[in-house]
Each structure stands twice: as structure tokens, then as C-alpha cells.
């Protein structure tokens, strides 16, 4: 780890000024990803600006019944918050499915969205990686890729985004707010992560030096009946090999509203809009759920060893939507 400067930000504008002056500086929140990446040499910042004490740690119900979540809210506080659990239970479940109790106590919402892939080629600086060092190649395409992307990847990078929280936020149309030295801005989470293409090192639409200040969830009555299911290679404390965030509103066995997003299948949380379109207005049956999943997964391009994810996601969609439909029927 190279030597670096450190300072605590007491206000947003001061924090922005540091990064404006020094492009090699980084914001640090909980540090659960950044410090790890600094230890492995993937990140070598010149200076850290600690934003954890900025007044961005509130969760508030918006006037229209949505939620505004500050960027420095910890994962634990997010998952424990009564309004999150009441209005967006899948979001609480997704956060609780991630990492460990210790890490959730440290990690922040802003940091969670900006965490880097856990692709083991990316985190090992002795190996080639287009995301880390553009132009060096992607050994995962031919190598160990059982947990790599089946959707939206390219030959340049097949890494997946590791966030659980982001999957639920994506399903519920979250909007990311940020500040830059030039002023504030916002981006729907759906557009926040850039397509992989031939620039896997460019990950988000965040302007250089921008600080995420919060995430806004628009009101979504459907989200009150929502669920997050995560499958991993042990029962806890592991990254997903496939996950689904789903919300379903069924009346008279007709799907009125549905939200569906997948995790661990792409370089970003994957909003399953094709599946949602296929379901909306149709019957809430296992066959319809499976057909909708197939519609979404038609675009899947599995590698040698990760084709199982197509089956896994399809089965998860059917299982989770069936459970929600059953609860709706009660």
C-alpha cells in the first residue's frame, strides 16, 4: 500500500474541493471495499477524504411516500429502519443478505453502489485484467468464470457487480443524487452503471470527483409485497451466484404491477424489463413466470461454465413470484 494523505471532510463542498484539485484522491466511507483494494494494490490513492461524518446519514420518508436515503447511512441502519422494512422489505432483505454483520455496520449506501467487482482476476494485480489495466486482456473468458456474467457482458470483461442492495434499489427505480464542484446532479440507478463494451474500466456515469449524497426511492406500493432471494455457495457470508429482487401486485389473478431485478448476472444489477412487460396484465401463474424469465434470459450469452445461471435465475423467478402470488391470494 502506498503512502497517502488523509483528512476528514466536515462539509460537502470542502470534500469536493480536494478531489477537484487532486484527481488521485478518493472519498472513503466505511472503507470495507476501498481499504481491501488498497491492500491488494488495486487502488493506490494519493489521499483519502473521509466522508463518514458528513451530515448525509438520514433516512426520511418523502412527501409522496417514497424514501430518501443518505449516502453515509450504514447498511445496518438501512436494513433495520422501520420504513425500509415496511415499504421496501426486499431492500432490507437484500442488505441483510450481503456481507456480514460487522461489514454491514461499517459499509455505507454510497460505498455499496461504488464497490468494485469481486472478480478474482480483478483483485489480483499479478493477473491481466481489462478493468484494472485496459488492454491487458480478460483471462476469465477462458479461465475461472463460474460466477461471471451471462447478460450484458463483452469479450473485454465478464465480471459481475457484487451488490445485493443495488439489485433491490434497481427494482424499485432508485435515483442516485450527487454533488460535484460544478453543482448537484442525479442519475437513475438504471443508467448509473455504464455498458461494458470495450471500456470495462469506465464503470459509472458519475462525473469525475463527484460525491454521492443519497439515493431516492420513488413511492412504489407494489414494493410493500416484495422479496429478495439470494443463492450462494455457502449459506451465508458469500457473494451471490444468482439473486432476484421481486415485487408483485396481483388482483383477480391478473398481474397489475411487477418489479424484477437480478443480481450476479451482469456488470450491474439487472433490471428485467422484458420479463416485467411480459407479465404485466397477464395471469399470475408459474407458466407465465417461467415464460417471462425466458423472455428476459433470451439475451443471455453464457460462458463455458456459467450456463447454470440461466436455469438458476429462471427457477428463482418462478419460485419468488409464485410465493408472492400465493401471499397475494391470501
Amino acid at each position: 500500500m502506498r503512502e497517502f494523505g488523509y483528512q476528514r471532510a466536515s462539509d460537502v463542498s470542502g470534500a469536493l474541493a480536494v478531489l477537484d484539485a487532486d484527481p488521485d484522491a478518493r472519498f472513503i466511507g466505511g472503507g470495507t471495499n476501498l481499504v481491501d483494494l488498497m491492500k491488494t494494490g488495486v487502488e493506490r490513492p494519493s489521499r483519502l477524504v473521509d466522508v463518514r461524518e458528513l451530515p448525509l446519514d438520514e433516512i426520511a420518508v418523502t412527501r409522496d411516500g417514497g424514501l430518501r436515503i443518505g449516502a453515509t447511512v450504514t447498511n445496518s441502519d438501512l436494513a433495520a429502519h422501520p420504513e425500509v422494512r415496511r415499504r421496501y422489505p426486499a431492500l432490507a432483505q437484500a442488505v441483510l443478505a450481503g456481507a456480514s454483520g460487522q461489514l454491514r455496520n461499517m459499509a455505507t449506501v454510497g460505498g455499496n453502489l461504488l464497490q468494485r467487482t469481486r472478480c478474482a482476476y480483478f483483485t489480483d494485480v499479478t493477473k491481466p485484467c481489462n478493468k484494472r489495466e485496459p488492454g491487458t486482456g480478460c483471462p476469465a473468458v477462458e479461465g475461472e468464470h463460474r460466477n461471471h456474467a451471462i447478460l450484458g457482458a463483452s469479450g473485454h470483461c465478464v465480471a459481475v457487480h457484487p451488490s445485493d442492495m443495488g439489485v433491490a434499489l434497481t427494482a424499485f427505480d432508485a435515483v442516485v443524487s450527487y454533488e460535484t464542484a460544478q453543482g448537484p446532479g442525479e442519475t437513475p440507478l438504471a443508467d448509473f452503471y455504464l455498458p461494458v463494451g470495450d471500456t470495462p474500466h469506465r464503470e459509472t456515469a458519475l462525473p469525475p470527483g463527484a460525491l454521492i449524497t443519497g439515493v431516492t426511492l420513488p413511492p412504489a406500493p407494489v414494493a410493500a409485497r416484495s422479496r429478495y432471494r439470494k443463492v450462494r455457495e455457502r449459506a451465508s457470508y458469500a457473494f451471490a451466484i444468482g439473486s432476484v429482487a421481486a415485487a408483485l401486485d396481483v388482483r383477480d389473478n391478473v398481474v397489475r404491477d411487477v418489479r424484477l431485478a437480478f443480481g450476479a448476472v451482469a456488470s450491474r444489477p439487472w433490471r428485467a424489463r422484458a420479463a416485467e412487460r411480459a407479465l404485466t396484465g397477464g395471469p399470475a401463474t408459474a407458466e407465465a413466470f417461467a415464460a417471462a424469465a425466458d423472455a428476459e434470459l433470451a439475451a443471455a450469452e453464457p460462458l463455458r461454465d456459467n450456463g447454470y445461471k440461466v436455469t438458476l435465475i429462471r427457477n428463482l423467478v418462478v419460485a419468488v413470484l409464485s410465493e408472492l402470488a400465493e401471499e397475494d391470494a391470501r
Binding site: M1, E3, F4, G5, Y6, R8, I28, G30, G31, T32, V35, D36, M38, K39, T40, L48, D50, R52, S76, A79, A80, P82, R85, R86, P89, A92, Q93, L96, A97, A99, S100, G101, Q102, L103, N105, M106, A235, S236, Y237
Partner: protein, 187 residues
């Protein structure tokens, strides 16, 4: 001496204030072990992947290997060395000892600190990934063996002492809630 890449800080550990100058690269774990001679917090992976370095920061469990020491200034840090009350072991420590909730002992301080955090998080009504219904209307989940196992999963134990660790956490959680009732203190 402080420099652009180091800082003079005060760390509050187990109620004691320690003044030291740290290289910004120094993690809280290394500051505890190498600078303050508090070697109870263990380094199993140094990457937040095992939980052996778990301490309490402002009463909440955290992995000290991913916490920069300089960023821990001003926060109350509790390590395994601060758990016992003099000769009197903390109920979690006593339960680990009595039920053989460890073998090699290397993950043990982290397991114990984590268990103290788990019991507090549960008392605060926090749900977990195995909580059937996370909605607040469902009420706080009972601390079943499955709840304990899920909540303790950030602490790996290679010897395989999990069964007695989970029993020890259950015992300590029961003992603590009884103690709270006896003294009339709020949880």
C-alpha cells in the same frame, strides 16, 4: 512526528486514551496489535473475510482490519481485552469457556466480540437474513439457533467449533436478558 502521510491521533480503547502517531496506512488492527500491544484482536485474513479481528466501535461490531486507525480517532473502541470486568468474565466469555466454544482460540476474540454485538443488535430488534418476515409489524424475531448462526456467520472458525459457539451465544443471551430483568435496566 506527523507528516503528510501520518497523523498524531488519540485512540480510545477500552476506556483508555492512547496518543500515538500513525502512518495513515496503519489499520486499527495493526495499531492495536503492533503499537498498543493489544494482541487479542487477531489477523486471520487482513481482508474482512474472516472476522477474527472483530472489535466494537461505538458499541457496534466491526472488522478492525478494514478500519484505518486514523479514521477511528474519536470513537469508542472495545476489544476482547476490555470485555471482562476485572476478574469477572463477560457472560459471553464465560459461556465460551464453559461450553468449549473454541479450539485453537485464534478466531475466539473475534467470535466473542461479534457475539456481544449480535446480542445487542438482536435486543435492538434488528432482523437478519433468516428472519421470516422483516416488516416491523411482525415484531422482533426470536433468537433461535438459526438466527444466531446467520448473525454469527461473519466469524469463520476453521477448527469447527461452531456448534458450541452457537450454544454459548444462546446461553449468554439468555443470561444477559435475565440480568437485565434483575437490575431493571432497559435493554
Amino acid at each position: 512526528m506527523a507528516s503528510p502521510t501520518s497523523s498524531a491521533i488519540t485512540l480510545t480503547v477500552n476506556g483508555d486514551k492512547h496518543e500515538l502517531t500513525v502512518d495513515h496506512r496503519t489499520t486499527l488492527l495493526d495499531a492495536l496489535r503492533e503499537r498498543l500491544d493489544l494482541t487479542g484482536s487477531k489477523k486471520g485474513c487482513d481482508q474482512g473475510q474472516c472476522g477474527a479481528c472483530t472489535v466494537l466501535i461505538d458499541g457496534r461490531r466491526a472488522v478492525s482490519c478494514l478500519q484505518l486507525a486514523v479514521a477511528a480517532e474519536g470513537r469508542e473502541i472495545t476489544t476482547i481485552e476490555g470485555m471482562a470486568d476485572g476478574e469477572e468474565l463477560h457472560p459471553v466469555q464465560q459461556a465460551f469457556l464453559d461450553l468449549d466454544g473454541f479450539q485453537c482460540g485464534y478466531c475466539t476474540p473475534g467470535q466473542i466480540c461479534s457475539a456481544v454485538g449480535v446480542i445487542a443488535e438482536h435486543a435492538a430488534g434488528w432482523p437478519s437474513a433468516v428472519t421470516e418476515d422483516v416488516r416491523p409489524e411482525a415484531g422482533p424475531p426470536p433468537l433461535t439457533p438459526d438466527e444466531i448462526r446467520e448473525r454469527m456467520s461473519g466469524n469463520l472458525c476453521r477448527c469447527g467449533a461452531y456448534v458450541s459457539i452457537a450454544q454459548a451465544v444462546a446461553r449468554a443471551a439468555g443470561a444477559e436478558s435475565e440480568a437485565v430483568r434483575e437490575t431493571g435496566e432497559a435493554a
